[in-house]
């Protein structure tokens, strides 16, 4: 069983610089065809200072930093048993190339269903930029299947 004492645990901040080549790689990987995500001129014409990070890109911060792996270690959830149950984003302002975002996450809840066959971890995050402005909030439901 996942230790419920981890409820309230605050993960170390993850810092993610929004980089042009990474956004182009992400665009290729998801088959993006909208030039706003790959062409600076199109992005500027759409009102952004530079290429915007697409809606789900901020999820990369805690993967890149290793914070997610360390959390799973702490919770003793092996990757082979991990499922992503739900994901939510609330957006406050764009993050574009040249911005650096910081993600700070907290474990909100841990519970189980089906007599412990499924365990759930609720994680919430605040994403801020280099001006300490709120960019987005994220909520993840992680599932450990036994």
């Amino acid at each position: 069983m996942i230790d419920k004492a981890m409820i309230g645990y605050e993960m170390e901040p993850s810092v993610l610089p929004i980089e042009r080549s990474r956004l182009r790689f992400f665009a290729k990987a998801v088959g993006e065809t909208n030039p706003v995500y790959t062409d600076e001129a199109a992005a500027r014409a759409a009102g952004y200072p530079d290429l915007p990070a697409p809606p789900t890109f901020l999820f990369a911060a805690e993967l890149d930093s290793g914070a997610m792996d360390r959390l799973l270690d702490k919770l003793q959830i092996p990757l082979s048993k991990l499922l992503h149950g739900e994901q939510s984003f609330t957006y406050h302002r764009p993050a574009c190339v040249g911005d650096t975002v910081t993600v700070r996450s907290r474990i909100e809840d841990i519970y189980d269903k089906k007599n412990g066959a499924l365990e759930f971890v609720i994680k919430t995050a605040r994403v801020t930029n280099q001006h300490d402005e709120l960019v987005a909030e994220m909520r993840s439901v992680l599932v450990c299947r036994h």
Binding site: V30, G47, P54, P55, E86
Partner: protein, 139 residues
């Protein structure tokens, strides 16, 4: 196509659907690298089999990224307020996903005219793999 406006959008309106190419290993490897999700269960068949799966399978966030494309090809990303999904089933190799969305509510959120859109990603067998909703501000 011109951007949708609050007055022009009607309940039941469908977003232009997004048909994705057949899920293959290259797609999963590229998304693993680009998204930062290096979980080997999505890229290494040996690891996937040791984890009890018949083969590698798609990252949940790949399905969500496709739904993000569905939304941002309809309205600019700067108008996206909320984006929530549930991962309901595993997307396997060979699946041909279609992302679709429908306007289900017109409302004011924090004083701003918005529409609530139900969204889903469905494979060629009609199985819904990712479902959720988005809140989009329209002027």
């Amino acid at each position: 196509m011109s951007a949708p406006t609050f007055d022009s959008v009607q309940l039941g309106d469908e977003l232009p659907p997004l048909q994705l190419p057949t899920v293959d290993r290259t797609m999963l490897a590229l998304f693993g690298g680009a998204s930062g999700d290096h979980n080997a269960v999505h890229i290494d068949i040996d690891f996937a089999r040791r984890a009890g799966m018949p083969d590698v399978f798609a990252q949940g966030m790949l399905g969500m990224a496709w739904l993000g494309r569905l939304l941002t090809q309809w309205a600019p990303q700067s108008s996206l307020r909320r984006f929530d999904v549930r991962f309901q089933g595993i997307t396997h190799l060979g699946h041909r996903m279609v992302c679709s969305g429908k306007v289900v509510e017109k409302l004011h959120h924090e004083g701003v005219p918005c529409v609530r859109i139900e969204i889903q990603a469905t494979n060629q067998y009609g199985q819904i793999k990712t479902a959720g909703e988005a809140l989009v501000a329209l002027s």
